[in-house]
């Protein structure tokens, strides 16, 4: 019997380690294998049990309570535990299992299927075949470049620049040594593809780095990984060690003239380091501030030498392209966007997690077919794509295909692939404010328009969220946005206004409701909502009073008719609503019309 446990960061967070310990007790003779996130984060902790006869069963949301049923089933007692069952080797396409069967996995081909700390497990799945094919098969760097060119792979970090063209610049640039940098500094809130790849399949990223380094003639490499991803740093470090020992890394790799070694640099938490030139400054030990391009890093990068920076996901695709040929990669996708794209699906969606789909699939298919639609049953309003550099696409445009150009046309960007779904209880003005708050803090401050412009935008958005905005403010936002875009040096400032512009474009009515009616349709903006107790539903249990941080709820035990919230003290934090079991706390945003009879509070 083989038991596989998903122990990625998400699995561990959900309690996978306790489950693993219990299983070890129950099945002491079983072979236990720890893999990283299978991508179905909504089902964590997940286990797969393969019976001695070869049949395997995948289970989700396993915990102490439901584990005995699963154990019984595998001991031949009782039925299959339906609540936890996802799919079996006999029946892969169940309702829950369709999450996986609807995907096309290239970058994620190994994630969740191998032990990330074991190079043998990686080789058993065909790992390092591509670099062997190149080095032992005598493939020239030009031939590798040509293969990647045929695949039409575009950079998965967000901008989508053709990988082979970028490589070509560095390859022909004079200067020695040349550098290859893996950008694993995933700073986008709402995205975790790089984490999953580095945690779940570090050797594939490493092999991708080898392929890229060979193609451009680099001899030194850096893996710049977020320090906030300790498991990724650890597993990638382990992978480097193992690869070095087996001769895949270091001097004269596999006995050829190709030498290449990699150092890990831990990022220190700066979103702007996603920008190539800022990332390089950071590796050099400076503040991560971007500089003017050209010269592009491909010509003059790290320590002034030709440098290629590739995103983790881009690198994870390379071995597949070499093994299967660029043409088979190019056969997937749309005319200008080839292959697949990984998305981190989260927010108000039933099944969140990692999703890899062929380019050209519609956004709606990802959210509804794979993601299972709304988690709450409320209508889905929009999806936020591309993080702080991206924008909100309304539900009415969910037939937009996943394609760099089609998504850019909506005003959002593909970005690194964060997809946060929002339902009717989200406020689009609040989301815009949230992102501007983020970009304003993360702006390195070099460009005035980025430094001051984003601050000004954030102030205006806060004003609107507090019900103090005017219609003129909307105009100011729209005037300021193109100026920030034009006058900023790097991608951070050039894309910072996107969340504001897209929400203004598609959800203008929500802005107007905030400005004119002093009402927050999503019921989010604290200054515009009220919390009240519906005494009909109240049981007088006192729990809301206990958790209220403002001490503004009063009433007597078991006397529902006495329970009230003092509106003059209430900070609208929502704690009472959260703890109230009979759902007796009501949130309303009554707006101006009601304000005549019941004065609105100015600010929280």
């Amino acid at each position: 019997m083989t038991i596989t446990i998903g122990e990625g960061t998400c699995g561990i967070a959900a309690g996978a380690r306790d489950v693993a310990a219990l299983l070890k007790q129950r099945f002491p003779e079983a072979h236990m294998q720890s893999v990283s996130c299978l991508g179905m984060c909504h089902q964590e902790p997940m286990i797969e049990i393969a019976n001695p006869d070869g049949k395997s069963y995948l289970y989700g949301k396993v915990n102490k309570k439901n584990l005995p049923k699963i154990v019984h089933f595998h001991q031949g007692k009782g039925d299959i535990p339906a609540a936890n069952f996802i799919r079996s080797s006999d029946e892969p396409d169940t309702d829950k299992g369709s999450y996986l069967t609807s995907q096309t996995r290239i970058a994620l081909r190994n994630v969740g299927h191998l032990d990330p700390t074991s190079v043998e497990s990686f080789r058993a799945r065909g790992g390092y075949k591509a670099i062997e094919k190149i080095l032992k098969g005598g493939m020239s760097p030009e031939a590798v470049l040509e293969e990647v060119k045929t695949s039409n792979l575009r950079g998965r970090g967000g901008a989508g620049f053709p990988t082979a063209i970028k490589w070509g610049f560095a390859r022909s640039a004079p200067g020695y040594p040349k550098y290859l940098v893996c950008n694993g500094d995933e700073g986008d809130p709402g995205a975790f593809m790089d984490r999953s790849l580095l945690e779940g399949d570090p050797h594939s990223v490493l092999e991708g780095m080898l392929i890229a380094a060979y193609a451009i003639g680099a001899s030194k490499g850096y893996a710049y990984i977020r320090a906030e991803y300790p498991l990724a740093v650890k597993f990638f470090g382990q992978a480097l060690q193992d690869a070095r020992q087996l001769g895949y890394l270091g001097d004269k790799i596999l006995g050829t003239d190709f030498s290449f070694d990699i150092k890990i640099k831990e990022g220190a938490g700066a979103f702007v380091c996603g920008e190539e030139t800022a990332l390089l400054a950071s590796i050099e030990g400076q503040r991560g501030m971007p500089r003017i391009r050209p010269p592009f890093p491909a010509i003059q990068g790290l320590f002034g030498k030709p440098t290629i920076i590739n995103n983790v996901e881009t690198l994870a695709n390379l071995a597949w392209i070499i093994n299967n040929g660029g043409a088979s990669y190019a056969a997937i996708g749309t005319e200008k966007s080839k292959g697949t794209k990984v998305f981190a699906l989260a927010g108000a969606v039933s099944r969140g997690g990692l999703v890899e789909v062929p380019m050209g699939m519609s956004i709606g298919e990802v959210i509804n077919k794979i993601g299972g639609g709304s988690a709450s049953g409320r209508a889905i309003k929009a999806v936020q794509l591309g993080g702080p550099s991206g924008g909100c696409i309304p539900a009415s445009m969910f037939d937009t295909p996943i394609d760099y150009d089609a998504i850019n046309a909506t005003g959002a960007i593909m970005g690194s692939g964060g997809m946060v779904v929002m339902d009717s209880q989200s406020c689009m003005v609040d989301i815009a404010r949230y992102f501007l708050d983020f970009t304003q803090v993360e702006s390195c401050g070099k460009c005035t328009f980025c430094r001051v412009g984003t601050l000004r935008m954030k102030e205006i958005l806060s004003k609107i969220c507090e019900g103090k905005g005017t219609m003129e403010d909307l105009q100011i936002l729209e005037d300021l946005a193109p100026q920030i875009k034009d006058a900023s040096l790097c991608g951070l400032g050039q894309t910072a206004p996107n969340p504001v512009l897209t929400t203004l474009k598609y959800f203008r009515d929500e802005y107007i409701a905030h400005v004119q009616d002093k009402r927050c349709p999503g019921g989010v903006c604290k200054a515009l909502i009220t919390h009240t107790i519906n005494q009909k539903d109240c049981t007088g249990c006192t729990i809301c009073k206990r958790y209220c941080p403002a001490n503004c709820i009063t009433g007597e035990l078991k006397k529902p008719e006495t329970w009230v919230i003092d509106q003059s003290l209430c900070i609208n934090c929502g704690m009472c609503k959260e703890v109230c079991n009979p759902e007796a706390v009501i949130v309303e945003s009554l707006g101006l019309t009601a304000a005549h009879s019941q004065p609105m509070r100015a600010s929280a």
């Binding site: 809130p189 938490g269 704690m575």
Partner: protein, 203 residues
């Protein structure tokens, strides 16, 4: 109140100069070593003591302006001492839309943090930190206490998890709800929960 109004002076670390020299020897002394050296210092002392930074400047070719410039630029680095345990609340997009703010409110309440600039409990037990994203978006909202990650939280869950953590770590939570109800007019939270569950409080 200014950013450094709450100084956490009592939590300041004693710096061992030998340790700093050892890091310089292991990591390097040129300008590229600035970030990893600061990371080593912070791993040991959990913030960047002024003395350790001075020692780096004295023992390497890194200038004070570079080192302090780097230390203040990156979100990871802290110049103020922290409590014995860190609480990191994720404020990524998914956590934001799922109520990360309520976790903050709940944690600030139980830690007794009144001043908006205060991030460390008065007894030096816990420090609350906001982080941009820890990459557990599907389990939002999330907080990390020490090394342990708590997924799918509500404000009340965050308080309960902290109470559990404090009990195991033998720490006192200065703003614990149990003390708040000294007037005795409400029941204990667990009792209230019980009575609500069984419906006995319903008239």
């Amino acid at each position: 109140m200014g950013r450094f109004a709450v100084s956490n002076q009592s939590l300041e670390a004693t710096v061992d100069p030998e340790l700093v020299r050892k890091w310089v020897k292991d990591i390097g002394s040129d300008s590229t070593a600035a970030v990893p050296l600061l990371q080593a210092i912070q791993t040991e002392y959990r913030y960047l003591p002024r003395k350790a930074m001075d020692l780096v400047v004295g023992n390497t070719s890194i200038t004070a302006s570079q080192l302090f410039g780097v230390a203040t630029f990156y979100a990871q680095f802290r110049l103020r001492p922290v409590g014995r345990h860190m609480i990191r609340v994720c404020h990524g997009t998914a956590c934001h839309v799922s109520g990360a703010d309520r976790l903050d409110t709940a944690i600030r309440q139980i830690l007794g943090l009144q001043d908006p600039d205060q991030d460390t409990a008065a007894n030096g037990s816990y420090t609350l930190e906001k982080v941009a994203c820890i990459g557990c978006c599907s389990l939002a909202p999330v907080m990390v206490v020490g090394e342990e990650t708590f997924p799918n939280l509500k404000g009340a869950d965050a308080q309960r998890s902290l109470q559990k953590h404090a009990k195991a770590a033998k720490e006192v939570l200065p703003g614990d709800a149990g003390q708040k109800d000294a007037d005795g007019d409400t029941k204990d939270a667990s009792e209230a929960k019980k009575s609500k569950k069984s419906g006995e409080a319903r008239p």
